[in-house]
């Protein structure tokens, strides 16, 4: 069924189709309409789930951690400071290897207060051990929610489905709601390896020593460092799993096929603009304008941010003359976080293109097509790396 609705409603429909059993959430703008929609589904009896209106985001993720540990499929959603309030729990969920799915409706973080969009919330949480996938439109939101459950439950790593606050969360766009029967074909019910169970007691997440240690039967159990190594290795292996799941999704639903990077006019492009989220669709207009000027430029939207698909990035970018990284987030005192990742991926490539870094749209600062055209044109005319200091777009000092 095709409908015209908001990005938040697209996400809510994905959660409903995934037959989530326990939902816990705390309201925060611009996530709120998503959780309102979910409570509507539950209250109307359209969705057989426990909706738990908790007293904080810290508790929202705590409920999900415990319900997932008890063997149920769980979901939560948040934005900005809500995500930061979860920080300790984010690490805990990943360390405990729980397949939680969370929508992060991207918003700038305080102080000072802002409710508008940028990516600082999710990007600042990139090292918590969660998979992060960014969406560019409403169809991607609903599809990614479904794929996220499959992915999380395959690799036992939690997944953030990130999409831009307001730009996607509150705007209306046509998208297809898949049929439940097709979703059931794609996404099997959640079957955890272990769930809390009085018939088979276990003491989960207890104090773990620096070194490996035998259990009462003499079998060696991993120490803290082995457990961390396994999380990292499984995250790296998840890169291939993302592509497998994307392929399976395309078989059932007949769409997708860009698990890591979505390209636009990149086949012959000497220059490539790259970014995350809805901005990559905005940049398609910019590419069209510059193509008319004869500039061989394309744009790539990076979908998978963690684990970082460095091989795919290298394959896609290393043969170009120049890479222009546009970012709605910043590693203060250094540079854009994505810029650093892309440069790092290109370091071992034979041909190293010039890489430029633009910071834009922080706290919802309007991103004007004219500005993008000008910056991208300038970068294409000077394909040299000009130091790591990022340039700011739309800044009015």
């Amino acid at each position: 069924m095709h409908i015209i609705e908001s990005g938040n409603v697209a996400a809510a429909n994905g959660v409903k189709l995934a037959k989530v059993q326990v939902i816990a959430a705390y309201p925060i703008t611009p996530q709120t309409p998503l959780t309102e929609k979910l409570s509507e589904f539950v209250d109307a009896g359209e969705m057989d789930a426990q909706y738990i209106p908790v007293e904080s985001e810290h508790s929202a993720l705590s409920v999900c951690i415990a319900a997932s540990s008890t063997g149920s499929r769980v979901f939560t959603a948040t934005s900005a400071n809500g995500l930061l309030y979860m920080n300790e729990q984010l690490h805990w969920a990943a360390g405990a290897r729980l397949p939680i799915v969370m929508c992060v409706v991207n918003r700038g973080i305080g102080a000072p207060w802002t409710v508008w969009n940028d990516h600082q919330d999710a990007v600042s949480q990139r090292d918590t051990g969660w998979i992060q996938i960014y969406c560019c439109d409403h169809q991607q939101i609903i599809d990614t929610v479904l794929k996220a459950f499959y992915l999380a439950e395959t690799v036992n790593v939690p997944v953030m489905v990130c999409y831009d606050g307001y730009i996607l969360s509150h705007t209306y766009m046509p998208f297809e709601i898949p049929a439940q029967a097709d979703v059931d074909k794609f996404l099997p019910p959640f079957k955890p390896d272990y769930a809390l169970n009085p018939g088979q007691p276990a003491n989960l997440n207890t104090v773990t020593l620096p070194d490996i240690r035998p259990d009462v039967r003499g079998n060696m159990a991993p120490g803290y460092m082995e457990i961390r190594h396994n999380l990292h290795t499984d995250m790296r292996d998840a890169i291939a799993v993302v592509a497998d799941i994307d392929k399976k999704f395309a078989e059932v639903f007949g769409r997708n096929g860009n698990p890591y990077i979505e390209e636009y006019k990149c086949d012959d492009a000497e220059f490539v603009a790259i970014c995350m989220g809805s901005l990559s669709y905005h940049l398609r207009d910019v590419v069209d304008i510059l193509r008319k000027e004869g500039i061989p430029v394309g744009v790539m939207g990076l979908r998978l941010y963690r684990p970082f698909p460095d091989q795919a990035v290298r394959d896609a970018l290393s043969a170009r003359k120049g890479i222009i990284v546009f970012e709605k987030a910043l590693s203060y005192g250094n540079q854009g976080a994505l810029y650093a990742d892309i440069k790092s991926a290109l370091y071992c490539a034979e041909n190293k293109p010039a890489v430029h870094n633009y910071i834009l749209g922080l706290g919802g600062r309007e991103i004007k097509t004219d500005h993008l055209v000008e910056c991208l044109r300038n970068s294409c005319k000077q394909p040299k790396t000009i130091g790591d200091t990022p340039q700011w777009i739309g800044l009015k000092l």
Partner: protein, 297 residues
């Protein structure tokens, strides 16, 4: 309480292994052993960081025969909510969910989640073992540390503020069952947990739990000191059932009787060494006034 449990009809099933990592004379190890007998095997435990985390053992060896979820410090009651949500989703209405936290994990960092869970009416038992300071981290003051007590963060003159009355705060949520208990009266705790299991909704039990290392006394006196706290009227055993307050057990027996004086309790523990005569007098007066009210009822 109608049928009181005695040592003769206490279940023989031991759910806490001997040789665990609790200190000698630990009040928690008494109530944990008896408390788990009361909860029974069809129980899922939720535990934040505390002395109990240590008692339960280091991975991959556990001292407890019940499934247990270790959770972050502030999240105990929210995690219990999550376990309950999953059990409801799986149509499991028999398994008991019990959260077991220290006084810091309950009255300080954990109170927001606990208040939220009580307001939502979650069907769980929350047991706070109150050893009156952050013992696991080395005796720092907590919200329930009594006035005048020396801790490592109130090192010379003692804690200036009074003990936070957590059971009253929880009772103010209007939940159906709030009780206090003491490690020195474990069978009373046993009966209160058994009673709590039969009640739907949130149940809160606050257990006074002597700590030899933190309070500064010889481990052989754990039970004696816990009793003295009750016999002096400093810590009272009671239940608040459907908003009705009643003293129970050893405290009920003190109604209209002469109590031991508080200094008798204070002089047994090095943590009270900073208390002046005047402070002790003031505390005695407060206790006398509290008991004058009890005696009127």
């Amino acid at each position: 309480m109608t049928e009181k449990t005695t040592i003769l009809n206490l279940p023989e099933d031991e759910l806490v292994h001997p040789g665990n990592r609790a200190c000698a004379g630990c009040g928690l190890s008494i109530i944990y052993r008896i408390g788990l007998k009361a909860l029974g095997r069809d129980t899922i435990l939720v535990v934040p960081p505390s002395c109990l985390t240590v008692l339960q053992g280091l991975y991959p060896i556990a001292a407890t025969q019940l499934p247990c979820l270790n959770v972050t410090f502030a999240s105990t009651a929210a995690a219990a909510t999550g376990v309950l949500g999953a059990l409801r989703a799986q149509k499991n209405e028999s398994t008991i969910v019990a959260a077991w936290a220290g006084d810091g994990g309950t009255s300080d960092i954990g109170i927001q989640a606990l208040s939220g869970a009580c307001e939502r009416g979650e069907d769980f038992i929350f047991i706070c073992y109150d050893n009156e300071a952050y013992m696991n981290t080395g005796v720092q003051r907590s919200g329930t540390t009594p006035q005048g007590v020396i801790t490592t963060t109130t090192p010379f003159s003692g804690k200036a503020q009074k003990k936070k009355d957590v059971p009253s705060i929880i009772a103010a949520h209007g939940i159906d069952y709030v009780a206090t208990a003491s490690a020195s009266y474990p069978l009373d705790l046993y009966d209160k947990i058994v009673k709590a299991k039969a009640i739907k909704g949130p149940k809160y039990i606050h257990v006074h739990t002597p700590c030899p290392a933190g309070w500064g006394f010889n481990p052989r006196y754990t039970v004696k000191l816990g009793k003295l706290a009750v016999e002096t009227g400093l810590f009272d055993l009671y239940e608040i059932e459907n908003s009705e307050f009643s003293l129970t057990g050893a405290s009920e027996k003190l109604i209209g009787k002469k109590r031991k004086t508080v200094d008798e309790y204070f002089k047994t523990q090095s943590r009270f060494r900073a208390l002046s005569k005047e402070q002790i007098e003031n505390i005695q007066n407060e206790i006398d006034a509290k008991w004058a009210e009890y005696n009127k009822k």
